[in-house]
């Protein structure tokens, strides 16, 4: 089989390249490779299927509203899901050390994408400079930026932890604050995307907090951000209207609070078990962005309280698995990546569902894996793919206990090594 030999040669070359990388930079503190947490994949696929089903079922309504064929949105979502799974696969294959040593490439790519979104001509229907358009494909730059920020901040904070400078103002606080301001100017100022900026702020804060940054500093950052948010809200009439809507939800059901009002009606009219899969009325143009930001409202209308709780439950399980992985990592870089991804997905879910339930003001934030939209799905799924790979290197129990037994030897988890045969590191194997 000449095929095999070629493959083996290539593999050898690649692994030598990564060995080189590993030896050239900081090595990762990872345990022995074991079976990954398959629940991550299963739950992600479940959520994507829910999204596909809902978008497929409201196809006739979307067709009327947008003047497209019935299955147009379901078809495009199917492509997005496929691309997402490819992204997942790639993320599970790219060696972890690569992320640590070449994150600059990713940051550069994110900067380039953002620049392209700002410079390239915009679609007159969506005049915000958020999309990069290549023929019939469009690409939301902020998703790339978010992933880049997670990798970069993880690397940055891990380095500072290693240098023992995590509590140093000049070394950590100032760079983070400066990068926040730069991102804020670009994403809020130019792209007018306050929601995504909020997500990035939450991610950075959570990562810095978990990395051990003093809480006082975080509170200062928080205060600065709040001032920025107030400026952003007051300077933009539509944001102001949204906040007023949030504060007085029923004052103006026909005007600026129309979407908030219709979301609540969609959710509330679902009842205990919902109207049924094909029975949504609100999707017929009543709720704006039915396939996108408002998809949870449509889901709740169709499947009621029971369905809503099940969906929230699936999300909850996914977040729980992400959290478990993060707790079982000794390497700060990897742990912070998982925390970043955990925050990214959970904060988007919380903001999206919370605004549909009238708990938060409306934000243009998609519901991960479910909302229509290619870029978000591809990057969210790829992010879970990354965690999926990382989950191969977890220890059985949260790291702090290991630290107790190990007394400072941090390179390998010996306690773990002895029982490494099965998949019991992952909850997937253990629960069956």
């Amino acid at each position: 089989m000449p095929d095999m030999s070629v493959r083996q040669t290539i593999r050898k070359k690649i692994s030598r390249y990564f060995e080189m990388l590993q030896s050239s930079g900081d090595p990762l503190k990872i345990g022995r490779r074991h079976k990954p947490d398959y629940w991550l994949l299963v739950l992600t696929i479940m959520l994507m299927l829910v999204g596909l089903i809902v978008i497929y079922s409201i196809g006739p309504a979307l067709a009327i509203t947008y003047g497209v064929s019935t299955n147009y949105f379901a078809y495009k979502q199917l492509i997005a899901v496929s691309l997402g799974l490819i992204g997942f696969l790639i993320a599970t294959r790219v060696p972890l050390i690569w992320w640590k040593n070449t994150y600059k490439l990713l940051v550069a790519f994110a900067a380039l994408t953002t620049l392209a979104a700002i410079v390239l001509p915009v679609n007159p229907n969506y005049p915000a400079h958020r999309w990069v358009r290549l023929g019939s494909f469009s690409f939301q730059s902020v998703d790339v930026v978010t992933l880049a920020v997670i990798i970069w901040i993880a690397g940055f904070l891990a380095m500072k932890i290693k240098q023992g400078l995590i509590k140093n103002t000049r070394a950590v606080f100032v760079p983070l604050a400066v990068s926040l301001v730069i991102l804020g100017v670009i994403i809020v100022g130019v792209q007018s995307d306050l929601g995504s900026m909020g997500v990035i702020v939450a991610i950075m804060s959570a990562m810095a907090y978990v990395a051990g940054m003093p809480l006082k500093r975080l509170i200062i950052i928080f205060v600065i951000i709040m001032i920025g948010v107030v400026i952003a809200v007051v300077s933009s009439p539509y944001r102001l209207a949204r906040v007023q809507t949030y504060l007085h939800p029923h004052s103006n059901c026909q005007g600026s609070s129309y979407q908030a009002c219709q979301s609540l009606i969609s959710v509330g009219s679902g009842g205990l078990v919902g109207l049924g899969l094909g029975k949504s009325v609100q999707a017929y143009g009543y709720v704006p962005e039915a396939s996108n930001d408002s998809i949870f409202a449509i889901f709740a209308e169709k499947f009621g309280f029971v369905g809503g709780v099940i969906l929230i439950g699936i999300f909850f399980m996914l977040f729980n698995h992400l959290k478990n992985v993060s707790e079982r990592l000794e390497d700060d870089f990897l742990r912070l990546i998982v925390i970043g991804i955990f925050t990214w997905l959970s904060i988007q879910t919380l903001i999206n569902i919370g605004s549909m339930l009238g708990l938060f003001p409306l934000k243009g934030i998609t519901l991960p894996f479910i909302s229509y939209g290619g870029t978000s799905i591809v990057f969210s799924t790829a992010a879970v793919g990354l965690v999926f790979q990382i989950s191969r290197y977890t220890s059985l129990k949260p790291v702090e206990i290991n630290n107790d037994t190990k007394k400072g030897k941090s390179n390998e988890d010996f306690g773990n090594r002895r029982r490494v045969r099965g998949a019991y590191h992952s909850n997937f194997g253990r629960r069956g």
Binding site: N125, A211, Q262, I265, G268, G271, V281, L350, N403, S410
Partner: protein
């Protein structure tokens, strides 16, 4: 000490993860509670709110009845329906203004910039951009599937015969309401009852598939109306008055042809006229009026055809009574004299009162109704005849919009000039009547004393095809005695003969027909009081028949500009043309 700090750091890190996790768990619990509150506790509130938005009530338009008439024994349509479409936009959901506007423009033309202008009213959800686009255009437009663009079907009236009978038909305005004519008077019957649909709809109001909340009540279509109009007579009368309008340079001509034995209006025409299909292009709204029922004027001497039978019926004169005409009467200090060539005081009779149109003679008849002079008895009697017998001063109830009631001066004996007022009414001044009121009153005299309600409706046909033939409606019996009509016929024939002998050659009719009439030259009242010096209205009332009277004809020629007495030179020729037409076209059978 490094190991200790690392240990602290590690446990700090996991503790902090636990804290973040706890925050997330707390939020998720809040979400579930909130979801329970919205979907279970507040379910009925939101269900109602949803139905409030989603359940829309619609009218299903009922198809409007058509209007038909007899033509040579066949029923032909005068008014039909055709479906056109109204294009509306919902700017709040239009995303691509220039594409949407261009697509609309490519199908229906019009003003592209205006479409784009309208689409910028983002707060509005319903703006009509075009009326009356065709079925084919509608199909092309809908094929674009433009968000925020919709069409509604609407029935429009079409008129196969153009402006034929336009004023008696009236038209249907853009809101579907009949205005003027039959369309107004019988709007309810023609319109039918719209059906109702209560349905859960999409945001644009398009009903969604069957839903337990849906209710549908089908519409009841309008009834078809078959008119008493004879299309042949109607169209020729219209041509005649159009021709005479030019010849006599008049302001307006109204003409009516009526069957005296059932009140059926056979023709009812006015000139100038208009085409109801393009009613919106009319600049002077007065052409919408059916003058034969809505314009009440002072009739002039044709009134003597009602004064005479009233006097005959009271027995105060006989057809052959002679009287000495003093050539003028002084009433309330005013001179009443004859409008015709004054032959001076001399012996006259009833026939010559009519033939020479003697105002003194008409006044004399009023005197005979009293005690030989104008007094309360005569005034009361004449008032009673005008208002009760001839039903002047009130609407006839014909199926027309805007019918005028006219005016009869009340017999108020305290009025110092009441004698003069009543002397004037005896020869047709100082009271207001419509051509229809005159024709109906004379019909009741000539048919033996029965006042039939004048009508335009012969049959109504229900949507299920069932025809209801309208029976003549008697409003007054014993208007005059049964024989008075027979006495009036030769008296009025005599007028026609007198004019023929006087040189009006067009008044020459075959002896196989009976033709009688009476001219009227009415002074026109100024709005400020008094009468114009040189402006008159020419009127004519008469009949044509074979062995008996077949049609009563009344003509008002408003303000003609030709020399001579308006009644003789402007009213009479119209009458003559109509009678010649009726005879020549065989609408009247000769004496056997």
């Amino acid at each position: 000490m490094l190991s200790l700090s690392q240990k602290n750091l590690a446990s700090l890190k996991t503790n902090r993860i636990k804290l973040l996790w706890g925050l997330l768990v707390l939020l998720i619990i809040i979400f579930v509670v909130r979801l329970f509150y919205l979907e279970v506790i507040r379910f009925s509130y939101y269900k109602n709110a949803a139905l409030n938005d989603q359940l829309k009530q619609y009218q299903i338009p009922a198809s409007r009845g058509i209007i038909e008439a007899y033509d040579n024994g066949r029923i032909v349509p005068l008014v039909l329906n055709q479906t056109f479409y109204t294009v509306y936009i919902d700017p709040s959901i239009i995303t691509n203004i220039s594409k949407t506007a261009n697509d609309i423009y490519s199908v229906i033309g019009g003003n592209l910039k205006h479409y784009m202008y309208l689409m910028k009213f983002k707060k509005l959800q319903y703006i009509i951009v075009a009326h009356k686009i065709t079925q084919a255009q509608n199909k092309t437009l809908l094929a674009f599937h433009l968000p925020g663009v919709g069409t509604q079907s609407q029935d429009y009236r079409v008129y196969p015969d153009g402006s034929l009978a336009s004023q008696l038909l009236g038209f249907v305005n853009n809101s579907g309401q009949g205005v003027y004519g039959i369309e107004q008077a019988l709007n309810k019957e023609l319109a039918g009852t719209p059906g109702r649909v209560k349905a859960v709809t999409d945001v644009n109001g398009v009903p969604l598939a069957a839903n337990t909340n849906n209710i549908e009540i089908p519409p009841k279509n309008g009834k078809n109306i078959v008119l008493t109009i004879n299309v042949g007579i109607q169209s020729q009368v219209e041509q005649i008055i159009k021709k005479e309008y030019t010849t006599t340079k008049s302001q307006q001509i109204n003409a009516i042809v009526m069957d005296p034995y059932n009140g059926h209006v056979v023709a009812m025409a006015n000139y100038p006229t208009y085409n109801p299909a393009n009613y919106q292009n009319v600049t002077n709204a007065s052409v919408y009026d059916n003058g034969t029922v809505s314009d009440a004027i002072e009739p002039g001497s044709i009134m003597k055809t009602l004064t005479t039978p009233a006097a005959l019926n009271q027995g105060v004169i006989q057809p052959n009574t002679n009287f000495f005409d003093p050539a003028h009467w002084v009433v309330n200090g005013f001179n009443i004299h004859d409008i015709s060539i004054d032959g001076g005081p001399r012996e006259q009779n009833i026939a010559s009162i009519l033939a020479l149109s003697l105002n003194t003679g008409a006044t004399w008849m009023l005197m005979q109704m009293g005690g030989g002079q104008i007094d309360k008895k005569g005034i009361d009697a004449w008032y009673n005849y005008m208002t009760q017998h001839y039903r002047l001063g009130r609407t006839t109830g014909i199926e027309q919009g805007y019918e005028a009631a006219g005016y009869v001066p009340p017999p108020n004996m305290n009025d110092p000039s009441i004698d003069l007022r009543y002397a004037n009414t005896s020869f047709g001044q100082g009271l207001l009547v419509t051509p229809l009121q005159m024709a109906s009153a004379l019909s009741s005299v000539l048919n033996g004393g029965t006042y039939y309600q004048p009508t335009l409706v012969a049959e109504t046909i229900s949507p299920n095809g069932k025809a209801i033939i309208h029976q003549p409606k008697i409003l007054e019996k014993n208007v005059v005695g049964p024989n008075i009509g027979n006495e009036m016929v030769p008296l009025m024939q005599n007028v026609v003969k007198a004019y023929l002998h006087g040189g009006f050659s067009f008044m020459n009719f075959s002896p196989n027909y009976i033709v009688g009439g009476k001219t009227g030259t009415a002074q026109v009242a100024k709005p400020t009081g008094g009468y114009y010096k040189n402006t008159y209205n020419g009127s004519y009332i008469g009949f044509v028949g074979g062995s008996k009277v077949k049609y009563v004809i009344c003509v008002f020629n408003i303000k003609p500009k030709i020399p001579g007495y308006a009644g003789s030179f402007a009213g009479q020729p119209v009458f003559a043309d109509i009678v010649h037409m009726l005879i020549n076209e065989g609408f009247v059978s000769p004496k056997p």
